[in-house]
C-alpha cells in the first residue's frame, strides 16, 4: 500500500492529478431481466472526491459494491489503480469501505475496531498502536479508544468506521451514504470534516449519496445516476448550473422549465424563441438532443431577481405574484408570467423585504440570459 502523502493538497478543482484511479468500462449488473446498472462507464481520478448521486434504486450502491468487490459485474470491467479487479475478492482489493450502518464490531472496543484490519499485517514494534492512534486523531476520537461500540453516539460510530478504513491506507475509500443516519446539524459538520480529511490524506474518496447538497458541498466531481444509467458526470457547479436534462436539473434542486422553439442551431450554441423570455442565445450542451423543433430551457429560482421600484435591468420579465412562501432567510415567490404555461418560482433573500410582497402584486424580474440553459427533455 502506498505511503500517505505528507502534504495536504490545495483546495481547487484542478488539484487532482489526471491519472485515473478507478476505470469503470461498460459495466452492467443484471438480476434476471432487471438491470441494476446498465452499461455504465466512468473514470475516477487519483485523489479525487467523487460522488455517485441519485435517487434510491438508481444503481449507485450497486456500483460502489462492485468497486469494493462485494458484487460482480454481469459484463464490463472495473480497474482500480490500473489493476483489473476481475476475480479479485473484496479482501484483496486496495479499497476500504465506510458502511451505511457503520458495521462497527459490537464485541470489540474502539481501538480493537480500528486495529481490526492491521492485526493481520502483524506490524512490528508498536507500529500498529501508532497507526491506530494516528487514525483516531484524524477523526478526533483521541482518548476514546477503550470505549465499547455500544457506548458511542451515532457521530462517533461514524468516525470509528472512518478511522477503521483510513488506517488501512487504501488507494480508494468508499463511503456508502455515510451521513444519512446523522441529524442535520451533525451531518453538515461532518460534510466539512470529511472534505477536510480527504484533502489531508489525499486518498481518492468515492461517496454514494441521495442528498444533492451533500454531493455539491463535498465533491470534486459528481456522477448523477437514474435507473441504472449515468446521466451526467461533471463538477458540482457544472451539474447544478448546466444539467444535461430535466431529470438531473430537477434532482439537484428547483428549476423553472420554459418551452422554446429553436430558431438557429450550430455546434456550440442555440438561438431559441420563448414566450416569456423572448429570443435567447445559449450554449448548446454536449448531449443536447433536439426534440423536433423544440427545446427546453431551464432557469434556477435564485437566478431570477425581484426588481424593486423603478430599478431596471437589461433583461427582465414582468408578471404577478400568485403565491408567497416564507422560509426564514429566503422567501419563495410563485410568479405568473403572461404567455408561460407554468408560473415561475423565484427565491429571494429577505433582506429587501421580499417576505412582505403581497400576493397579487405586479412584479418585474431581472435575469441573466447566461442562466437560461438549454437541455434535453
Amino acid at each position: 500500500m502506498p505511503e500517505q502523502p505528507q502534504i495536504a493538497r490545495p483546495q481547487s478543482d484542478r488539484s487532482q492529478s489526471d491519472r485515473a484511479m478507478i476505470e469503470i468500462k461498460n459495466v452492467t449488473r443484471s438480476y434476471g431481466a432487471f438491470k441494476a446498472l446498465d452499461d455504465a462507464s466512468l473514470t475516477i481520478r487519483e485523489g479525487e472526491f467523487f460522488s455517485l448521486l441519485g435517487p434510491s434504486g438508481c444503481g449507485k450502491t450497486t456500483l460502489l459494491r462492485m468497486i469494493a468487490g462485494f458484487d460482480n459485474p454481469t459484463s464490463g470491467s472495473i480497474a482500480v489503480g490500473g489493476q483489473p479487479m476481475e476475480g479479485i475478492p473484496a479482501n484483496r482489493r486496495p479499497t476500504n469501505m465506510v458502511f451505511q450502518s457503520y458495521a462497527i464490531f459490537p464485541h470489540l472496543n474502539v481501538e480493537q475496531n480500528v486495529a481490526y484490519g492491521l492485526k493481520r499485517l502483524r506490524l512490528q514494534g508498536g507500529e500498529e498502536k501508532r497507526r491506530v492512534e494516528e487514525a483516531l486523531a484524524q477523526v478526533s476520537l483521541t482518548g476514546l479508544g477503550k470505549r465499547l461500540a455500544t457506548e458511542l453516539s451515532g457521530g462517533q460510530r461514524q468516525r470509528v468506521a472512518l478511522a477503521r478504513a483510513l488506517v488501512m491506507r487504501p488507494k480508494v475509500l468508499l463511503l456508502d451514504e455515510p451521513l444519512s443516519a446523522l441529524d442535520k446539524k451533525l451531518r453538515e459538520q461532518m460534510q466539512v470534516e470529511l472534505r477536510r480529511l480527504q484533502q489531508a490524506v489525499g486518498i481518492t474518496f468515492v461517496l454514494v449519496t441521495h442528498d444533492q447538497y451533500e454531493a455539491l458541498a463535498m465533491s470534486d466531481r459528481i456522477a448523477v445516476m437514474f435507473g441504472g444509467r449515468i446521466a451526467q458526470v461533471a463538477s458540482p457547479k457544472e451539474i447544478y448550473q448546466r444539467p444535461v436534462n430535466r431529470q438531473v436539473a430537477d434532482f439537484l434542486g428547483g428549476m423553472n422549465f420554459v418551452k422554446a422553439e429553436i430558431v438557429e442551431e450550430n455546434a456550440a450554441s442555440l438561438v431559441v424563441d420563448t414566450l416569456g423570455f423572448g429570443r435567447v442565445k445559449t450554449d448548446k450542451p454536449k448531449a443536447f438532443v433536439r426534440n423536433g423543433g423544440g427545446a427546453t430551457l431551464g432557469i434556477r429560482p435564485e437566478r431570477l431577481r425581484v426588481l424593486w421600484d423603478n430599478a431596471t435591468a437589461k433583461f427582465e420579465v414582468a408578471g404577478k405574484v400568485v403565491e408567497r412562501h416564507y422560509f426564514g432567510e429566503i422567501t419563495h415567490l410563485i410568479v405568473e408570467i403572461p404567455g408561460l404555461e407554468k408560473p415561475l418560482s423565484v427565491t429571494e433573500t429577505n433582506d429587501f423585504g421580499a417576505d412582505d410582497i403581497p400576493v397579487g402584486t405586479p412584479i418585474r424580474l431581472a435575469y441573466d440570459p447566461e442562466a437560461l440553459v438549454a437541455m434535453g427533455d
Partner: protein, 305 residues
C-alpha cells in the same frame, strides 16, 4: 365509575386508594408475573425444597427419621461407587455437549447463511426425528450398534471385521453416540438463532478489512454467535447429566450414570434420603460445571479478539 364514586364519598376514598395501589408499578409488575411465578413456585421450587429436606433425613425401613443428619452427603461424596458414577456422568455429558455443539454448529451455520428462502423448511426437517418417541430413537441406535446390528453387518460385509464387534453397544461410547444424536436439534436451534442475529454487514466489513472467509468467521461470526453456543452447550449438558433412559437401554454396566443410581435409591433400594442427597450433589456440581462452561467460552471469545 367516576359518577358512581361521586355519589358516595366513603366509597370514593377506598376506590381512590385501591386505584392508587393498582396503578403503582411494582404492584402491576407482581400482578403480571404472579401466574407464572406461582407456577414456577409450585412446580419447581417446592419439589426442590422437598428433595433438599429429604437429603438431611434418614430412612428406617418404611419410615423416615426427620432428625437432621449429613450422613447421606458423606455417603454420596465418599462412596467410590457414587463418585465414579458422578464422574462418569459429568464426563459423558461434557463429551456429549462438546460433540453436539461441534456437529450442530455447521448445520446451523448452513441453514442461517445458505438456507436462502428455505430456512424454515430446513428447520422443520430437523424436527422430524422428534415426532417419534425418545425411546424409539434410543432403541433404533440399539439396532444400529447391536451385535447383529446395521453397523456390524456393514463392516463385516465390507470385510473390515471378521466377526461382529461387541465394542459398539453397552458401554459409555454407545451412550455418548445416542445422546449426541438425541440432543442435536436442541443445539442447532439456539446456535441458528444467534447466527441469524449476526449482522451480515459485519462479515462484509471484516472482508473489506482484509479477512478471508475463515478469518472473518473466526474473528466475527464465531464470537458473535457465542451466546448461542453457550446456550446450546448448557441445554445439552444439564439434562444429559441426569439422563437415565439412555444408559439403561444402551449403556450396559459400563455406561451406568448417576441418574440410574438415584432412580435405584428412590425405587428398588427404597432409600429416598440418599437418593435426595445424590440429586442435590449432582445439581450443585452441574451448576458449577455450567458456570465454568460459560466462563470458559467467554474467555475463548476474548482470546479470539
Amino acid at each position: 365509575m367516576t359518577a358512581a364514586a361521586e355519589g358516595s364519598p366513603p366509597l370514593r376514598m377506598t376506590r381512590a386508594r385501591r386505584n392508587a395501589l393498582l396503578q403503582s408499578e411494582p404492584v402491576q409488575g407482581f400482578a403480571l408475573i404472579s401466574p407464572t411465578f406461582l407456577y414456577a413456585l409450585i412446580l419447581l421450587v417446592l419439589p426442590i425444597l422437598v428433595v433438599i429436606a429429604h437429603s438431611f433425613w434418614t430412612q428406617h425401613y418404611l419410615t423416615i427419621d426427620r432428625t437432621f443428619t449429613l450422613e447421606n452427603y458423606r455417603v454420596a461424596l465418599t462412596e467410590p461407587i457414587y463418585r465414579d458414577l458422578l464422574w462418569r456422568s459429568l464426563y459423558i455429558s461434557l463429551t456429549v455437549s462438546l460433540f453436539t455443539v461441534i456437529l450442530a454448529y455447521p448445520i446451523a451455520y448452513f441453514i442461517s447463511f445458505h438456507g436462502g428462502r428455505h430456512k424454515s423448511l430446513w428447520l422443520f426437517l430437523i424436527t422430524i426425528p422428534f415426532w417419534t418417541s425418545y425411546l424409539l430413537r434410543v432403541m433404533s441406535w440399539k439396532v444400529i450398534l447391536g451385535y447383529n446390528g446395521v453397523l456390524n453387518s456393514g463392516l463385516m460385509g465390507l470385510g473390515i471385521i471378521d466377526e461382529p464387534s461387541t465394542a459398539l453397544l453397552y458401554n459409555s461410547t454407545a451412550v455418548i453416540i445416542t445422546l449426541t444424536h438425541a440432543w442435536a436439534a436442541f443445539a442447532i436451534l439456539p446456535i441458528f438463532v444467534s447466527l441469524e442475529k449476526v449482522d451480515r454487514t459485519l462479515v462484509e466489513a471484516a472482508t473489506d478489512l482484509g479477512d478471508g472467509p475463515l478469518r472473518s468467521f473466526l474473528r466475527v461470526t464465531l464470537p458473535l454467535s457465542a451466546p448461542g453456543v453457550i446456550s446450546a452447550a448448557l441445554i445439552v449438558m444439564i439434562p444429559t447429566v441426569g439422563d437415565y433412559v439412555t444408559p439403561k437401554l444402551v449403556g450396559g454396566k459400563d455406561g451406568v450414570m448417576i441418574a440410574n443410581a438415584i432412580q435405584a435409591q428412590f425405587g428398588k433400594a427404597a432409600n429416598w434420603p440418599l437418593g435426595a442427597a445424590l440429586s442435590v450433589t449432582t445439581m450443585l456440581i452441574v451448576t458449577l460445571m455450567a458456570g465454568a462452561t460459560v466462563l470458559i467460552i467467554r474467555a475463548l471469545q476474548r482470546l479470539a479478539r
